[in-house]
Symmetry: C2
Subunit: 337 residues, 2 copies
């Protein structure tokens, strides 16, 4: 009746072998003779046996799951990363346990505990700060950790990230090249590494063009990084005077800004050029399509997972890597003159 309860023992009994042999055809098929193997496999199919993962994990000492902790599952950026992770992990036979910290340190903490309880094989995390202590707790347990979208500061740690300084520089340089001299940088909280570095890059670009950032780059810091905040930023900004160009720290802000500008009768790109960051799908789909800085998001997830599984499965041969991708400028209507 209850086919769910069929264990390796019953398979063994039915196939006329010992449980150990069944385990071998499951895990080391080459160690068992052709005849026995096919017989056991047939019984497995007949009985609808599926291995009890927990028993396996308990005895083997490690699971076939990885944890994924993201800051905001609602942001297409993280969604793309998650898709890359899920694809690679799934192909490798791993399950992905999802944790959404919602930018809340307490939630992140709680998720980490769940991952520890589940004895995930490894952890992929987009941390929102640099405190490595929490992660050490996991690492001490033998759980591999790979930082995603955050460069590791230590050589014994894998990470994949995209150069945000370069990205910021590309964005601002592009605006300047299009003739802007009065720029605005609209950003999320400046406690966020990405926001800081993109700003640094922008300042470098201005300096390189002979423009003093202090005089030519206004910074508008918003508490959130969504479209609502972007539109609000437009309302804050315009009374102070219309700039030549706006650089937003992500596309959600930029889309909101675009809407805010147009509502105020400011034309993009004729009056103001506008560029975002991340190149989410909606950037190309917005009515005035948005120039942006593209990051290899999906790839970020895939490579991170590849690194993680290598670290977990080949601990001795594994070489820790800090991979830094370069972003790419995507020019669309919002910066065409």
């Amino acid at each position: 009746m209850t086919p769910g309860t069929v264990s390796i023992k019953e398979v063994a009994a039915r196939a006329g072998v010992s449980p150990g042999t069944v385990s071998n055809v499951l895990n080391r098929p080459h160690k068992v003779a052709e005849g026995t193997r096919s017989r056991v496999e047939q019984v497995i199919r007949d009985l609808g046996f599926v291995r009890h993962g927990s028993a396996s994990t308990l005895r083997a000492g490690h699971s076939r799951t990885v944890g994924l902790s993201v800051i905001d599952i609602g942001n297409p950026f993280f969604t793309d990363v998650a898709a890359g992770v899920e694809d690679y992990a799934s192909d490798a036979g791993y399950a992905v346990i999802l944790g959404n910290s919602s930018g809340d340190r307490v939630k992140e903490e709680r998720n980490l505990r769940v991952f520890a309880e589940q004895r995930v094989r490894g952890l992929l995390i987009t941390p929102f700060d640099d405190d490595p202590a929490r992660l050490d707790v996991l690492r001490d347990r033998g759980i591999g950790v790979v930082l995603v979208d955050h460069p590791a500061h230590r050589p014994d740690q894998c990470s994949v990230a995209v150069n945000d300084i370069t990205g910021g520089r590309m964005a601002a340089a592009h605006l300047v090249e299009r003739g802007a001299t009065d720029l605005v940088y609209v950003t999320g909280p400046l406690s966020i590494r990405q926001c800081i570095e993109r700003r640094v890059g922008a300042e470098q670009a201005l300096t390189a063009a002979g423009l003093d950032p202090a005089a030519h780059l206004r910074v508008v810091e918003m508490p959130a990084m969504n479209a609502r905040a972007g539109q609000w930023a437009a309302e804050l900004l315009l009374p102070e005077g219309v700039p030549d160009a706006v650089f937003c720290a992500n596309d959600l802000l930029a889309l909101g800004m675009l809407r805010g500008l147009m509502h105020a009768g400011v034309r993009v790109p004729e009056d103001v050029t506008l560029i975002g960051y991340d190149d989410i799908d909606f950037a190309a789909a917005s009515t005035v399509s948005l120039s942006s800085i593209r990051q290899p998001t999906y790839k970020l997830g895939r490579i991170a997972t590849e690194l993680l599984l290598d670290e977990c499965e080949n601990p001795e041969s594994h070489a820790h890597q800090q991979i830094m991708f370069q972003p790419e400028l995507v020019v669309r209507e919002s910066t065409r003159r």
Copy 2:
């Protein structure tokens, strides 16, 4: 040294109690005397003990994880659902294992097997077809299943969904009320239940308004449901003549359509009114903000999880429910005359 290896036994030894007692303070704190309990809890903190989930699952017969299988993690609709699931599950102490089927039956199958191996306590799934056989395999194993965004056809099955016929009717009725008589329905594959039912609703609305759908509603079926497909639909559509109004089966299609229309010099809403479906965040943020049919997406995820956990934890008192939410019309610029 390796704090990861501290087991319940060591805690017991250090606290001068038996392992069974430690297990009790973990799972039935009320059954152990105040003094012993606090002593054990202190030792747990000191040693940094964290329960081995697999051992627990093995012995207890059920895990504290739920599986979530979605069709497309890249679609904001599913992302919102996932956020609702994650929040509720996380609060209840459950971990969420994510499976992304990418609209691929084989991938979905594979994910189900992983869920079975992991012995998830329950499964939340947005199935893309009506074949219940696959799910019976899980149910026979005692794994609860709740259908998400898909009404169950059987009384022994929980489901949460939103009435798509009503939604389709609302959308079309709104367009007609705004004066449209020459409508177009842009949809994804008509093998998808949601696409079919929204169409049925639209036809009902036309009929109710005294317009024969055959004469007044053109249907454009696209192979995908993203913005690219929407823009392509505009290019297919316009040469045949500009309609009064366009109803898109989701917001991604609608955003693409909007862009396609504006590029062709067709003004929204002056020349054509446009409405989407789902009310994703980007609908409000697009330059001509998009009217849409709002679904309680996040709530869908939460309620589904609530139902699932009730089914798993109180099997005898649990009453299966097929919950059907009603959608809501959101009017924005794209249908303002």
